[in-house]
Symmetry: C2
């Protein structure tokens, strides 16, 4: 019984991963269920046991694949970052190096899906927006902590800044994809870095001064 | 003869305008030729007299409708702007007020088409990229003039800055469309305004001092 449930879970995961890759390459509407079945060797009956239709499979891709792909590079790093601006700059550098070629070819899967499906399907729109909102919240919270510990200027609107940062990253990837030119991505990341630098306090001060504390 | 050519031109223009609206609402692949014919009352024969296929009609939409829609708000203003930063801030404000509702519903037609068709059709990609490039050139040239007359900091990389500005505008519209929330657009425009303010020289100086010149 446990083995059956286990293998059923594996089948489900394989279907979702294959669908995630197909949607990433071709968009949702051009993705064919037959292609996914052929690729995974899963029967149509087994697929419809897990997902009542293609839309439901697409929703699972957003929630179980694109969500983690989008947030995993940001959440764990920013959650423990003492200096959120340094941390965001580091994330942008790392993501740029890691995904340049792939982003140029296909863009950001989550954003592509947003542009394709948001206007025509509320189920997609709301699920995609929930991921974007969680991404913004991660940045917002990190910047708020930075304001408290003095690494971010006190008058920064952390919510609006988080909205801006996420939009710039998505706009940059979209522009680079159409230009087929990674210099577009670099120029945008440089612009965002300038913006981020301006969020630091004019005169940097340290909340904790270990020497002074030790001697006091 | 002149009248025939004139009415043929009118028919062509009507087809392009109807296609531009259909593509804006539904994307290129979901746009149906029959719908355009029905809407315009043009015969299939007349359409194929002007465009050998749907793709060619789509290309004409980019070059004759989306190009001017995209550039008309930027070119004439920036061409004669003495202070490009003030001018860009003014454009962002005006565009924001004018197109907020429409942008929320459908996003930016040029960018939607880029995201849909750039990965699958080089003809679309290159034509769309040419519009983005002209848009960047308009900003680049204005910022360069600003460097010369002292309204833009001397160490600003005008080409990269232009790439950044265009990408931010497109990213902002895309984010707002998925969020269905005009506060997302406002937050991005505010972020971009902060970035633009930082491009001004630290101590503003005027290249021309009329009083001094008159008394000299």
């Amino acid at each position: 019984m446990a083995t059956t449930r286990h293998s059923s879970e594996i089948t489900r995961k394989r279907l979702i991963n294959a669908a995630a890759e197909e949607i990433r390459r071709n968009g949702f509407r051009a993705t064919s269920i037959d292609q996914i079945l052929q690729q995974t060797g899963v029967t149509k009956g087994a697929l419809y046991h897990h997902f009542s239709n293609k839309l439901e499979l697409g929703y699972a891709v957003v929630e179980e694949v694109y969500r983690s792909h989008t947030l995993e590079g940001w959440g764990p790093v920013l959650q423990h970052a003492e200096n959120p601006i340094d941390a965001i700059l580091g994330i942008l550098r790392r993501n740029g190096d890691r995904t340049k070629g792939d982003m140029l070819n296909c863009g950001c899967p989550l954003n592509n899906l947003a542009q394709e499906m948001a206007p025509v399907d509320e189920g997609f729109r709301a699920r995609i927006e929930a991921v974007f909102q969680d991404w913004r919240n991660i940045i917002d919270e990190a910047l708020s902590r930075g304001k408290e510990n003095g690494t971010v200027r006190g008058n920064v609107d952390t919510e609006k800044t988080a909205i801006f940062i996420v939009s710039v990253v998505e706009g940059a990837i979209g522009s680079a994809k159409n230009a087929q030119d990674c210099r577009v991505l670099s120029a945008c990341m440089e612009g965002l870095a300038h913006y981020l630098e301006a969020l630091r306090p004019r005169i940097s001060f340290r909340a904790r001064v270990p020497e002074a504390a030790a001697s006091g």
